[in-house]
Symmetry: C2
Subunit: 315 residues, 2 copies
């Protein structure tokens, strides 16, 4: 694994990294930053006393504080890793304490709303470069993080027009060293791409798990017993952090509703195929989707192991 992430840097990229919010993502950033020597000092701020206690027990940071404003003193890189809905308050709190020339970034799954929430509170003398590491698991909290979470995953930067190129390059380097493939795009395009690859899939998963829970004729114990038929694959993503996902949907409303509209139209067409017994139509769709799966496995974003490797290794 050490080899997979490469050796630590001889000289750290940043003097002080402040991580505000230390859940799955924040704690994984702390771990990889320490492992790769990406920052000389790591300061963590979190409002939860439990999280702060775990961060100290796990020795993830050089200093732990409850106050975001306190954490950014002297930091040349600040990454906000809180649920998106907290970003405006955090930006307001840290704005006055930010050091000139500091890079301020985040990890939110939506980007347009993050810019709207944070930019007004940030002083002119910092570089604001929103980012979104497309990585995660269904687990939450500082214990769930790990240093290789970002390895081989994409990190999308959405620098505003006219952003300082050196600052963008430095943040790019940070994420590359963390193991990510880095891509740059506009905030609005990001929000549409993520609506289809992440937000709407999560919404659909939450929805079908809820529907199953409500069916009067089928007991919950039956749903659980027979979930290996396909249902359980949906429950993984429907187990993700509720606060984070509430904020995603409230903050990427337009793109989510657009993609959801398309999804519903397509579903109506599929429903009609079933009603009319259109076997060829069904077969054609099912064949097309199989090819997309193949591309995802070939691109390295997925394992080809049957059933995600749940299968018994000894045949």
């Amino acid at each position: 694994m050490a080899e997979r992430l490469g050796p630590p840097l001889a000289d750290p990229l940043f003097a002080r990294l402040a991580i505000i919010g230390c859940g799955l993502i924040g704690s994984s950033i702390a771990r990889v930053a320490r492992r790769k020597n990406l920052a000389r000092d790591i300061v963590v701020a979190d409002i939860s006393p439990n999280v702060r206690a775990r961060v100290e027990a796990l020795a993830l940071a050089d200093r732990v504080t409850a106050d975001p404003c306190d954490s950014v003193t002297g930091a040349d890189l600040v990454i906000v890793c809180a649920p998106v809905g907290a970003n405006a308050t955090i930006a307001e709190s840290i704005g006055p304490a930010l050091a000139p020339g500091a890079i301020v970034s985040d990890v939110g799954s939506v980007k347009g709303a993050v810019v709207t929430a944070m930019a007004p509170h940030l002083p002119k003398h910092v570089y604001f470069i929103p980012a979104h590491p497309v990585a995660g698991t269904e687990q939450s909290g500082p214990d769930a993080g790990f240093a290789t979470l970002f390895h081989g995953r994409w990190c999308i930067l959405t620098p505003p027009e006219g952003a300082n190129e050196a600052a963008v390059a430095k943040l790019h380097r940070f994420w590359s060293e963390a193991g990510s493939n880095v891509e740059t795009m506009g905030a609005q395009h990001h929000d549409l791409v993520l609506a289809i690859t992440s937000h709407v899939p999560h919404l659909i998963a939450y929805n079908i798990v809820g529907t199953a829970d409500d069916l009067a004729q089928v007991t919950q114990s039956e749903v659980i017993k027979f979930s290996a038929g396909g249902f359980r694959d949906f429950t993984r993503i429907a187990a993700s952090d509720p606060t984070m996902w509430r904020d995603v949907f409230l903050n990427n409303k337009d793109a989510v509703l657009e993609v959801l509209g398309r999804f519903t139209e397509d579903l109506s067409a599929l429903q009609r195929m079933i009603r009319w017994g259109d076997g060829d139509g069904l077969f054609n769709l099912f064949t097309r989707t199989r090819a997309i799966r193949r591309s995802i496995v070939e691109s390295g974003q997925e394992t080809a192991a049957p059933d995600f490797g749940r299968r018994d290794p000894d045949q």
Copy 2:
């Protein structure tokens, strides 16, 4: 693994097992029947010359034939493992050759339509006991099968009213020895339970993968790159065998349309929560679905490994 399935039986349960259709499921039955000595003789019938060649190369059977009727001669257990749409033709073909007292079963994911398709063609002197092993992977064909596919999974028997109890008990024993937990229910109830736990989840997965493929503003390469955000979990089940799934939807129309109707109603409500910015409503649903995930993991139908164990084991 040998220990997980237990030792082979001293005396086989059946003298001759005929497996008609030797894909993922049929070949897994052949493997576990051989491993556990569940039948003295194993005969496989498959219409595909390629499949027959692989079955011979893998030495999965004592005899391989193209003709279903030929395969059932002298068999005291016949399991039809073809796509559900082929069952009527197969039953018609094997009917006259079935031995008195033989048990005839299947593995179809729908049960009501299987009974309607097969029962009229079967002679009075056999025991017809439909079955559905709720197990599988997204892969197909005789090379994809393995002996432990059914281990720890459920197998549902749907014997008709007044079915011979000794025959039901013997088939129950067969599936228990294959490693399954066996449950008995009516065919109609089965079809509704499976509509929610398997059929509609597959349909939704096919649908969203299709929607992603159709979005003009987002390229396919972007969908593939950023699929780790949730989308890829849907592509696994949308990669399942197209013929099998076409037949499932054509043959479980009523239950699928009923569950799909509920799903769509729930989705409309969720859509309104987003439109109206109802954060509490979203949070409540997302919290409820998390609990269901926990139950599925606790029941042993799922691994608790984050991200299905895709995560790097060395943290």
